[in-house]
Structure formats: C-alpha cells, structure tokens
Amino acid sequence: MNLGVREWLLYGVMLLFLMVLFVVDIATKHGFTNHVLYAVVVLIATASHHTWMPSVVAGMGTALTVIGMVMSPATSGLPFWMSVGNRTFTIIVLWILVWFAWKRREAQTALQKVNASLEHKVVERTTQLTSVNQTLIMEITERIQTEQALRLSEGRLAGILDIAEDAIIVTDHTRLITSFNHGAAKLFGYYTEEALGHPIDLLLPERFRVHHASHIDTFAGAPESARRMAPQREVFGLKKDGTEFPAEASISKLTVGEHPTFTVIVRDITDRVKTERQLQSLASELMTAQEGERRRIARELHDDINQRLAMLMVAMESLLADPSAMTLHTRECVQALAQRLAKVSDDIRRMAYQFHPSILDDLGLTAALQCMADDWSATTGIRTVTVQEELANSLPRDIALCLYRVTQESLANIMKHARADRVELELTCGGQEVTLSISDTGVGFDPETIEGRHLGLGLVSMRERVRSVGGRFDIQSKPGRGTSIAVQIPLSGASHEETTSSPGR
C-alpha cells in the first residue's frame, strides 16, 4: 500500500476515534473513565512513520480529557478530586505511552543503524574476499607455470646428467650425497640408490678424507663459486670394489637459503696418466738410447779410428826418420800426407767430442764445464764467470751428462739469441743435491710467448733431460732482464717427481 494513503487513512481513523471518544466522554457523567481510551489512539499513532505523531495525539488527548472534565455532567455523590484523579491518570497513561513509543522508535533506529553498518561491513568483506581470491588464482597459475618450467629444467638437467660421461655428484653442506648420475654410477660402481644419503667419503681413499673435508670447508667460505680440485696434485677416487683411480675433479657451490650445496665433476684420468707416463718414459728412453748411441759412435771414432790414424802417422814418421829409405820427392809427398792425416785426425776428434764429451768420463764434470766455458768464451768473446764446487764424490754418469748437455744447450742459446756480454755459471753441491745455474745479461725473453717457438724445443728437451734424472728445471726470463736457468738434481736417488706427486697405493 502507498505510504501516503496509509498515513492519511491513519490520520482519519485517529481523528474519528478522538471525536467519538470525546462525544462519548462529554455525554457520560463524571466517574466513568472512558476517556482512558484515548490511549488506544496514541497506540494507533505509533503506527505513523512520523516519530512526533504519538506526541501530537497524546497532546490532543490531554486537551480533550481536560475539556471533557469541564463539559461532562456531574454525578451526585462523587467527590470532585476523584474525577480530577481519574483524568490525571488518563493523561499520565497517555504520556507514558508516548515515552514508550519514543523509546521503541529509538531502539528501532539504533537497530536500523546497526543493520546498515553490518551490511556495509559485509559488502566490504566480500570485496576483500573477491580480491584475495583473484590474487590466489593468479598465484596458483604462476605456481603451475613455475612448476612446469622447473619440471622442464629438471628434465633437461636429468637428461644432461644421464648422458654425461663424467661422474656428476651433488652433496649438501654436511657432505651427504644428494645426487649421483649414471656417469658416477658407472665410474664408482655404486647404484645411484646405494650412494644417495652417504657421505662423499664413500668415494675417497681413506688417506684423503680428512684433507678433503677441510678443503670443502675452505671452499665453502671462499669467494669463488667454482674451482678445480688440487690442480697441482693428483686426486684419487675409490671404487666400490676397493680399487683406486687417478682423477681430475672440479667443484662448484650453490648457496640457496642458509647452506651451500656442492656439485662435483669427477673424470677418470687413468688412461691419460698412463699415456703421459709412457710418453715420458719413452722420451727418457729415447734420450738414453741416443746418448748411448752417441757414446758408442764417439768411442768408435775416437778410440778406434783415430788411434789407428795416429798409428799410421807413427808409421809414416818412422819411415821418414830413415833418410836412406826414399827420395826427396817421395819424402815431401809422405810429409804432406802425414799433415793431411793429422788434419783428418783432428776433425774426427772434434766430431767424436761433439757426439760424446770424453772429458766428462776422463776428468769429471767440473773440468768438463770449465773447459767448455773457456772454449765458448774464446769463440764468442762473451765473458764467462765460473764458480764450481769440487764435488766430493764423482757424480753418476747420467747426472753429469745431463748437467753438461744443459750447459751446452744454454750456452748455444745465449750465443744465438741473448746478445749477452756476461754469463755466470755456478755449480754447487749443497746437501743432498747438485745445483747448476746459468745466467746471462742478455736481452731475455717472455717465457709465456717463447714456449713452442724456436727456443721452445730446446727448453723442452732440457726440461725432459733433467726430469729423466729426477731433477727440477726452472727458467726465469724477462725481456731486457737476461735469462737464468736453474737445475737441481737430488743425489740420494729420490727424485723430485716422486716426492711432489702423491704416491700410489
């Protein structure tokens, strides 16, 4: 129903009631309290949507009650105060009703307000929930995408790990194996499942375990993220069947969260090491064979052919000593022949000396070096300063020959390349090793660039020669700063090579 119509209807009903009640009131005598029915109209007024309506009706009711008291016919025997009391009661009732109506309306308003705010809150909350929901959906999508990418990446990595020939092993910060690829399984002989969860020590020979742990700790704290393991020493791995193999290992670390994880790549270099050893021993055998052959040829030339030539000359001179044996002309011819023979003999002697310096066997290394230095100085005009310690015991033949050849090669290099004006040659025998050093004041060179070029081969052969008698060869040079070569050879028989590399099992 229309609000306005209902209101006007209400007004009409209330007016009608008021008029009827008033007429009844003034028609009845005092003592009938029908005026109290005004309260009904006040109650009806509470139905109006105007809050003031009950008050207006109550006001009208009060007025009509007072007027009614004046106009109603008196009742005999009824005291006046009783009539006044009745009417006062009615008025009080009317206003009590107004008060109640007002209270009720107030409570309603408050309730409405609460309702309204509740609704507002609900709307707000719903909006929030919707946005949270959207975010969640986005996050879930993102996560799914990330997971897919991760799975793809993992798949790729797994593929790489699977086909890699090298052993690739991942450990956590407590050195427990968390990943072990096919290559590792093949190399070490463990199934992947067997290795997972075990300390990496499982794959190391016992003597390396303590060191390895401390190396890893150092590396964990180091700034670089990857390094080659022990590049200067040999590393060994331990297979399931207890055999060891020489290895080349690199390690990298990745720190996600608090603790780093380590990835180790291990490669079996047994074959490489074997080949290197074979090459080295082959080179050394070759050199020994070459020296042996040279010595043989030298001996042949010097000790046999040259001796025979000398004896031929002795025979010729004996012939010449007898003046009656030949004519003057023949004598001159024989003399010329003898001179030519002497020349040939000299040439053969020089040749033999090049093949093998017999002075080394006859007079020892110090005399041989002094002789070589003096001859070289005389030929080149370059000053040599030689300081040699007399060796208490004669050196083993191979060591003496090695030092002699190194000196020979060095002096030849100095003559060809160095443009030096002074060479210092020192041979000392401190403690258990013999040390040879040769330094010049020449133009020097950059060792980085010269290796492999014309000087390179000579250096390689010197180095190899020294290595084959267990010694150490160092060359230091800078452009403009001269060159110095140092050779140290242990005399006790223990070689540098063996003391610097890890012993086998």
Partner: protein, 214 residues
C-alpha cells in the same frame, strides 16, 4: 847407462805394438797392460822405472791410475801418450804427477826423447800443444787482480749479506739455498780475493759500495 824398466798401458793392442817397436832398443819393456786398474796392480808388482800410459782407458782412467800409482810408487816416472790435446787434460796429467805429455800422432819422433827427459828428471810437453799449455798457465798471472766483476751475482749477494752481519745460516734462509752452499761461496770469495778474515770481506764490501758503513 842402464836401460830404464818401462811398463806400457793402452787399451789398443796395435798402439802397444807400435810403441814396442819405438822403444825396444832404448828400454827394457817389462810389461803391457790394457786398463787402469790392472796397471796399478801390475806396476806395484813389477816396480818399473817408468810408466807410459793413455788417459782414456777402461775400468780406471789414466789420470786416476796415475794418482794411485804416485801414492804407492812415489818415484815412478809417468808419461802420458794420448789423443787429447786440451790443456785441461795436460793440467790434470801434471797434477797427477806426470813427467811427460805427448800426442800419439807425434810419438814416433818424440817418445824416445820424452823418456830420456823423464829419466833425467826433466819434464817434456809435446811442442804440438806447448803453446796452449803455456798460455793457460799464464792466464791467471796475466789477468789483472781479481775484481768485483769476477764474482757472480750470488757471490756478491752473499758477500753483501755477510758484510751486513748476517750469519751463514741466516743468509741460507734468506736466499733459500743450503747452509753448505753459503759456506762454499764465502770460502770461494775469500780464496779468489786472497782474504783471510771476514773483516777483510767487510772492508772490501764497503770499499765497493755493496754496503754502507753504519
């Protein structure tokens, strides 16, 4: 005059044959040996007046054999007849106690003369190499007094550190070489410069500006 008793040592039989022919008139050839070790043994038995020997011989070379011989038979004369013309060989030969040194190729004309010289307590060096020998003997005498230039860089380092008051051990630690090597260099420098005390070394180092006097 009594013929000298001669022992011949050479590992080539045809050389021995040749020498035999050259010497048999003048000498009493008591024996022939073919290596250094046998030479010493036989010489001690036969007590020859003179030994003619080569340097390059198996088992024990002529120089070493000569040293041993001189110890056991101080009065025996030694003549080297070899193929080696280097003055280093000649030096070593005379250090080992030789009385003569000649080359095989001139043996025919010189051997008898060398034997005679040796037997009359003279020395004989073949004219073929006499020039080299004399030059090499003269070299140290002709050279000016040793200078700082005759020292190697290492020797100068050690000289400087010694003058600065470091002990041989401290020097060895600094230069990362053995203690013995430092001692060797120090002794060698003293010998080269003809010094007898460390004080001389210090003075020399100061004089040559290696150290400044404190």
């Amino acid at each position: 005059m009594k013929k000298p008793r001669v022992l011949l040592a050479d590992d080539h039989t045809f050389v021995l044959e040749g020498f035999k022919k050259l010497l048999e008139e003048q000498c009493d050839l008591v024996g022939f040996v073919e290596d250094g070790r046998t030479l010493v043994e036989v010489a001690v038995q036969l007590q020859p007046d003179l030994v003619i020997l080569d340097i390059s011989m198996p088992r024990l070379n002529g120089i070493e054999a000569a040293k041993k011989l001189r110890k056991q038979l101080p009065r025996v004369k030694l003549i080297f007849v070899t193929m080696h013309a280097d003055s280093a060989y000649v030096n070593e030969a005379f250090k080992a106690g030789a009385s003569g040194y000649l080359l095989k190729r001139s043996a025919a004309t010189e051997l008898v003369q060398a034997v005679q010289s040796a037997m009359s307590d003279h020395f004989y060096v073949t004219p073929l190499i006499a020039k080299d020998v004399v030059t090499s003997f003269l070299k140290p005498g002709l050279a000016p007094l040793p200078t700082i230039d005759d020292l190697t860089a290492r020797q100068r380092e050690i000289l400087q550190l010694t003058a600065e008051g470091f002990s041989a051990k401290e020097i060895a630690d600094q230069l990362k070489i053995s203690h013995r090597t430092v001692e060797f260099h120090k002794a060698k420098v003293m010998e080269q410069l003809d010094f007898h005390t460390t004080a001389d070394l210090v003075k020399y180092a100061i004089a040559h500006g290696l150290v400044t006097p404190s």
